[in-house]
């Protein structure tokens, strides 16, 4: 079972390289914010899976809770700033 979790973690880790392509290439800033949100969601899943590999689920689940909140607040703050900046200019 640990090898299955390890395979899934490696697969998800390689899948996190894909939004970096969108961050580098995306023509507007909204595309880049979208890529950051996807990296954040993938990191939450990766943290929980690593907790299952190391058999210390409780610690890594607490980390995942904190990261989920940070990810959500980060995207909303960036969106609000972009809205205000357009309104002012």
């Amino acid at each position: 079972m640990t090898t299955l979790f390890l395979g899934m973690t490696l697969f998800l880790a390689f899948l996190t390289i894909v939004p970096v392509l969108r961050i580098v290439r995306g023509p507007t800033i909204y595309d880049r914010a979208l890529g950051v949100g996807l990296i954040g969601t993938n990191t939450i899943l990766l943290l929980v899976l690593i907790g299952f590999i190391y058999d210390r689920v409780d610690m890594f689940v607490d980390l995942a809770i904190a990261y989920a909140i940070l990810n959500f607040v980060g995207i909303v703050v960036v969106a609000k700033y972009l809205e205000r900046r357009q309104e002012r200019s």
Binding site: M1, L4, M8, F11, L12, L15, V18, P19, L21, R22, G26, P27, T28, Y30, D31, A33, L34, G35, G37, L38, T41, N42, I44, L45, V48, L49, G51, F52, V57, D58, V61, D62, A64, I65, A68, I69, N71, F72, I75, V76, V78, A79, K80, L82, E83, Q86, E87
Partner: protein, 104 residues
């Protein structure tokens, strides 16, 4: 038996995360890409977290996993909506097939 169902849920969730990542590259416009992120990626996260909570059994970390699931299920579409609303307010134009190029 519960383990097989939990692993099947996690595999389905990883498939949806793969589809969402591919959509982020291939779709032509910001608004279509926010569809891929707000809907499909949220569903993949729900399935993975639900499968792992089922695998962990009836313990306290499993309850915390369900809390993360509820937060991601509510928060991810809200954040995507906030981003798309900022783009609409800035009059970011939409893609149409006559333009032909990949973006804008």
């Amino acid at each position: 038996m519960i383990d097989i169902v939990a692993m099947a849920l996690v595999f389905c969730g990883l498939f949806f995360v793969l589809v969402s990542s591919l959509g982020l590259i291939r779709l032509p416009d910001f608004y279509t890409r926010s569809h891929a992120l707000g809907k499909s990626d949220t569903l993949g996260s729900i399935l993975v977290l639900g499968g792992l909570a089922l695998y962990a059994g009836l313990t306290l970390p499993s309850f915390k996993l369900l809390l993360i699931l509820a937060f991601v299920a509510l928060g991810n579409p809200t954040a995507t909506h906030a981003l798309a609303r900022a783009a609409i307010r800035s009059r970011h134009e939409m893609w149409s097939p006559e333009i032909g190029a990949e973006t804008e």
